[in-house]
């Protein structure tokens, strides 16, 4: 009915729906799209007097400055190392755990495990970092007392070492999010038909081979989409946790793009808005590029992509 009517007719017919849209749209424009227009200061030299629209154009000066700075050679590898490590460690585990949970015979045991492993997802980043600092304290933490009991002497402070930071960052993240990340795979597994399992059983397939040949193919499309999504954030190591875990002794591995943008733009005495914005823009563009790229590859391989 409405599909045949012209656009003005539709507007007249459904003006109320558009009225519903008005406030959310205003919100979207003010709080999301105005800052996007503000991104232009990455190509200017921002001054308080000039503001977003009046400061002097400098082309790609800010970007060149970033690429040529010694921070670039540190911040970019740090960011890529953390997110890549995070992907390699954090992506397969939820799949394995979901498959195992699905194969448990006791429904009550499965429910208990699920209930517990979802919990850390709800703990705030500040508290997670606080827990890391407490538990891994070489003197008073679990780590310290356990090492003391086994080796007889106090261990080195792993919180104050640049080399251990990536491990602590990634594995605490795995601890926190692994359980929650199984949910989406558990949902996919719940759609596997029982007949498929029965048919495989009649053919003499063991439970393990049914996991490989029945359960795993069922979650593969979901896994591909999750992989695409996470590849789109290969250059976005979250600010909060890296920032909170930073100390002067681990900065050489813990300074990532987002924390550096914050320090350059807001935290230091002479805040350089244009420089910080340029770094942030570079970051977002690489992320978008990666997303499009990996989505394209997934499409080529015959998997349904994001769009």
């Amino acid at each position: 009915m409405s599909s045949r009517s012209s656009f003005p007719d539709q507007v007249v017919e459904h003006w109320q729906l558009l009225a519903f849209m008005a406030l959310p749209l205003a919100y979207l424009i003010v709080f999301k799209y105005v800052p996007m227009v503000g991104v232009q200061i990455a190509f200017r030299k921002f001054t308080a007097d000039g503001g977003v629209w009046g400061s002097k154009w400098v082309g790609f000066y800010q970007f060149r400055k970033f690429f040529e700075s010694y921070q670039f050679a540190r911040v970019l590898p740090n960011t890529i190392r953390l997110s890549f490590y995070n992907l390699v460690a954090g992506f397969p585990l939820p799949i394995v755990v979901a498959l195992c949970l699905n194969a448990l015979r006791s429904a009550s045991f499965r429910k208990s495990v699920q209930t517990i492993i979802y919990v850390p997802h709800f703990i705030s980043t500040v508290v997670i970092v606080g827990m890391i600092l407490q538990l891994l304290n070489p003197r008073t933490g679990v780590y310290g007392t356990a090492m003391m009991a086994f080796t007889g002497h106090q261990p080195a402070d792993i919180l104050a070492k640049a080399a251990t930071f990536p491990h602590l960052y990634v594995w605490s993240g795995v601890w926190q999010q692994m359980g929650w990340n199984t949910i989406i795979y558990t949902a996919a597994l719940s759609t596997v038909s029982l007949e498929l399992h029965e048919a495989a059983q009649i053919d003499g397939a063991s439970r393990f081979s049914r996991v490989l040949n029945v359960d795993f193919p069922a979650i593969l499309p979901t896994a591909v989409i999750m992989l695409i999504l996470s590849s789109g954030s290969i250059l976005s190591v979250g600010f909060e946790k890296a920032f909170l875990m930073q100390n002067p002794l681990n900065l050489s591995t813990s300074e990532v793009i987002s924390t550096y943008v914050y320090k350059v733009g807001l935290a230091q005495g002479s805040s350089d808005y244009s420089y910080a914005t340029a770094i942030g823009l570079f970051n977002s563009l690489v992320n978008m590029l990666m997303l499009v790229l990996v989505n394209g590859i997934a499409g080529r391989l015959g998997h349904s992509g994001l769009w």
Partner: protein, 300 residues
């Protein structure tokens, strides 16, 4: 004969398989659970037991000193009150704004629906970034105000998609056709049909938003300078991460040790006190959280 031999072999293999799976899941369970139990037990122990590392699994020298210290702390109280305010006002605003936006996006006859959906979805992949956002907040005069903690995140795109997908999939479009024949307007349909039938998804997104507000740290860090406005997470950072106690000032080693023990105990108790509101609702809300994670994961 051959068939039964086959079955016996596969069931022997299955026994081993189930044993491995059971053990692996038990290990996962313990790895996740142990730090939680340790924090909880430490928070109920005495300062010296915490200090000397005598807590292994259960509380040692049961005491409530840590909690007494937490509740004596004025910052914690301020932070708690602020966080409760941000969470309740913020969540109310979030849910209202999200449902108002989700309704037209769920209706196939909304003019420009695809364009609107794209405008929202695009912000998931690209944003102005830190500084343009900061300049905007300053321009709007929102720095150091209550509203900077609730307005900028009024609509979360993920939650919007969850709500829209729910309305699309679980409220049949025929219902609207029937209602519109009876003269029901688009607005009235929202009030009389959509909202009452969306209770489940409203619960889901309200919980997500509430947890987000309670745990939020970044916006407060960059937009708030007044301590009176700080949410709990900022005070938590001061105590848990930036250690505010300076041991060099203490000369008496015994007193120093006691202070250090007390500081550690305070941290454990603080972790429990700040996390309990979330974990207290969790058992009742678990099925909603899980539902939300699933609805949102559907392509729509």
């Amino acid at each position: 004969m051959a068939a039964s031999g086959n079955a016996a072999r596969s069931s022997r293999g299955d026994v081993a398989f189930y044993a491995i799976v059971d053990t692996a899941m038990m290990a996962v369970l313990l790895v996740v659970l142990y730090p939680l139990i340790f924090v909880l037990s430490s928070s109920f122990s005495s300062p010296s037991a915490v200090m000397t590392g005598r807590v292994v699994l259960w509380p040692v020298d049961f005491s409530l000193e840590g909690y007494a210290a937490v509740f004596r702390n004025r910052d914690v109280l301020t932070g708690y009150v602020n966080s409760v305010l941000y969470m309740s006002v913020g969540t109310l605003l979030n849910v209202a704004a999200t449902m108002i936006a989700a309704y037209p996006l769920s209706r196939k006859d909304t003019p420009l629906r695809k364009t609107f959906t794209f405008l929202f979805a695009f912000t998931m992949f690209f944003s102005g970034g830190l500084i343009p956002n900061y300049i905007l907040m300053r321009g709007l005069g929102l720095i150091d105000t209550f509203w900077v903690m609730v307005l900028p995140g009024a609509i979360g795109v993920w939650n919007l998609i969850v709500a829209r997908t729910f309305i699309q999939n679980s409220i049949p479009a025929e219902l609207f056709e029937a209602a519109s024949i009876d003269g029901c307007s688009d607005a009235r349909y929202f009030r009389a049909v959509i909202l009452p039938l969306s209770k489940a998804v409203i619960a889901v997104i309200a919980l997500y938003y509430a947890v987000g507000h309670w745990n939020a740290f970044f916006d407060a860090l960059i937009y708030l300078n007044k301590r009176a406005l700080y949410p709990l997470q900022l005070f938590l950072r001061e105590v848990l991460v930036a250690n505010t106690i300076n041991p060099a000032l203490e000369i008496d080693p015994e007193l120093l040790e006691r202070k250090q023990g007390m500081a550690d105990l305070l941290k454990y108790s603080l972790i429990v006190v700040s996390t309990v509101p979330m974990l207290a609702v969790y058992p009742f809300a678990q099925k909603y959280f899980v539902k939300g994670a699933m609805v949102g994961s559907l392509k729509g």
